[in-house]
Structure formats: C-alpha cells, structure tokens
C-alpha cells in the first residue's frame, strides 16, 4: 500500500432539487465519512449544482486532478439520468482538450434504484465503465443498490443494520482500492434490502396515493388520468 496522499472526488449525480435530502446525497455523506481522512483527501461535487450554476469548469478541474472519482446516482429508465449524462458528456469534451494526465484516475460508481432488484443497475455500471475508457480513466467496480426507496426512511431501524453495514463495507473497500497498487479490480457488489417485496410494493403504492391526496388533494382515481388519449 502506498503512503502517498490520494485525492478522491465524490460526485453526486442526483438531479433532484434540494427540497429534501436525496438518497444519493446521503450515500455521498457516508462515502465521505468512510473514505476521507488519513491518507485520502476527499472533495465533493454536485453535478446538478455545477450545471445549474454554470461552474462546471472549476469542478472539472477538480475531477481531472483527482486520483479517483466516485459517481453516486439514481437509476433513471434503466441507465444514467439525462442530467448526469450532460455532465459526463461535457466532462469528456473537457478532458479531450487537456494535456494527458500523468496517471489514469480510478473510477467507481454507487448506483441506487427504486425497484427491489439490484441487478437492474448493471447496465448503468457498464456505462460508467465505457465513460472511464473515454476519459482515460480506469474503471474499478460499482456498488449496485436495489430497493433504494426505503433506505432513507428505514436506515436506523434494527432490521436495516446489516444492510447499512454492508454498504459501509463497500465504501471501505473503495478506500482500500484507491490506496492499493493492485491491478486486479474487485467485482461489482450488489446489495438488496432484506425486506419482503410484497410489503415494499404495498408501502410504495400507499405512498403514492398518500402523497397525491395530502400534498395535492387528488383522489386515487385522478392518479390514473389519461391527458393525451382516452
């Protein structure tokens, strides 16, 4: 293991507005706590804020100067959200204009989806792998999380302890891999909630009805409107 200080940039790729904290932001907090400190210096970037405030160049400089990048984002339609694609497309164009970096950055992804099956995230991890090649980086591995919709609400419940410990262990693994000189990449890790799927669906479906009624005064039947075609 090298003694040299490494710099890691944690990129939050959630497109959500900041009304409530998102799962991706929470996961980046955890990453910062597990990866930062000691020989690793951590920086944070929000793709959304960067694009909204037109400050991409500064964040791209930070990323290009890092030893490792960790992308944390939700799955949208079985792959990366359009907003994150914009951020990555522009980053690839930025990198192309820069002098070649001395060492390729190690690249990781932490992907969460609202569906229970973690494997749904596999193609998004492959997209990050392809992106890594396009920017001269070295794809290492991803954490694929299924059932992400319940993490924020249930993370402190006793039944979630093992799941949250597993997530923390993967972040420790990322930290170890950043500091390692091993050329061998660990396998992608998958974590699903230890919770009955039927109950997860029931709670989710009730949640949509409740949000429509409480926040917007809609009846259940109104959720099924067909505005464009009968």
């Amino acid at each position: 293991m090298s003694d040299a200080v490494k710099t890691v940039t944690l990129i939050c790729g959630s497109p959500k507005a900041r009304r409530d904290r998102t799962l991706s932001e929470y996961l980046v907090d955890l990453e910062q706590a597990r990866i930062g400190g000691g020989p690793v210096a951590v920086r944070r970037v929000s793709a959304r804020e960067s694009l909204l405030h037109g400050d991409c160049a500064s964040d791209y400089r930070t990323m290009a100067a890092s030893d490792a990048l960790v992308f944390t984002f939700p799955l949208y339609f079985f792959c990366l959200p359009g907003m994150l694609m914009r951020f990555l497309q522009d980053y690839a164009a930025y990198v192309k204009e820069q002098p070649r970096q001395r060492n390729p950055a190690k690249i990781y992804a932490v992907i969460n989806c609202g569906f229970p099956e973690a494997a749904i995230n596999e193609e998004a991890a492959r997209v990050i792998k392809s992106f890594s090649g396009a920017v001269g980086g070295e794809y290492r591995f991803s954490l694929l999380i299924g059932g992400g919709g319940m993490v924020l609400g249930a993370k402190d419940a006793p039944f979630m302890r093992a799941t949250m410990d597993s997530i923390a262990a993967v972040f420790d693994q990322i930290c170890g891999d950043v500091l390692s000189d091993s050329p061998i990449s660990p396998q992608d890790a998958s974590i699903e909630m230890r919770f009955p799927k039927k109950l997860y669906f029931l709670m989710g479906n009730l949640g949509w009805r409740s949000a429509a009624k409480k926040e917007h005064g809609l009846r259940v039947a109104e959720l099924k409107k067909r505005p464009y075609r009968d």
Binding site: C79, P81, M83, M85, Q89, L218, K224, R226, P227, Y228
Partner: protein
Amino acid sequence: MQAYVLSDEEFHTGRYEKLYGTVLAALEGAGYEVSHAAVGRGTLRCCAGCFGCWVQKPGECIVADGIGEINRSSINSDLVVYLSPVVFGQFSANIKNVIDRWLPNMLPFFITRPDGSTMHPPRYRDYPRQLIIGYGDDLSEEDAQLFCDITKKHRGSVEAVVYRDDESLNETIMKIPTRRIGGLL
C-alpha cells in the same frame, strides 16, 4: 399511420444525415406520415425526479418547456423512432432527457412482470410502437451491445438497434407491426 421521429440536433453528423434519410424513406415507403422533432442542448430541462407527473398533475410533466407536446405527439403516434447518438454505450444527454420525461406516460405503482422483474403499470390502454436507433462513428462492439441491452433487457415493448447499414435497418423497420401495442410496458 403516424410516425414521430426524434433526434438530437447536437449530433446531426454526416452519419446522422444518412441514417435520417434511410429512416424517412423506409417509413414513407411503409405508408407512414412522418413528423420530426429535433431536441438540442437547452431544448428540454432534465427530469428532476419530482414525481409531479404522478402525484400533482397525473400524466403530465409539471415543467412547461415543450415536453408536453413531445409526449402528446408520441402517445398519439403509431410509431415513435428515436435517433440517438451512442454515448458511453447509452443515449446522448438530449435523447435521455426525452426518455426520462416519458415518465408521465406510466403509472406510479409497482407491479411484477411475468419474468419476475419489477415495472410500473401502463397509464394508457395502448401505446405507439417504439424503435430506438443508435448511431455513431467507430462504435465499439461493447458500446453497441450495451446500447441495445439497456432497452431490450428491461423494456419489453421497445425495440433497440444500432445503425450499421441501410439494408438491415430497412429490414428492422419493415418488421415492426403497424398496430399499436398494449399490455405491460
């Protein structure tokens, strides 16, 4: 029959022009009346995951920036064709914004499909056929395969191919049934 073609004006390359010409000729030859919309950088905002299209104004995006017209045109067509640059094995950012903002066209609830996978139920009784055509110069086999896997592994009612030559693309378009599609998404 109506066909609605969507493209990314940020990638209107020479290859795109050839692809578009081939698609237009094939669709018109098959009897479709074709309309076309190009989305560029800044045409549409990114989906912000607010779920307003499910719980505030069901079936419609609450952001008024032109996605309503795109979704109305899509839902009322018999065939929607997306001409998407392949970027990192995925859709380009502009085309992905269109796809992300298709969300109002399905219901919020969870269902289990016959293969055990999870999906949202359809909002409408039937939908246009959808064909996603990826294109790019010097595409790797891995990126081309990934581009198709993203759609074909998870969206049973949507077809995805990568443009290689006119003959195979014409064959793909001719095989698309002309009737709209019902059932699970």
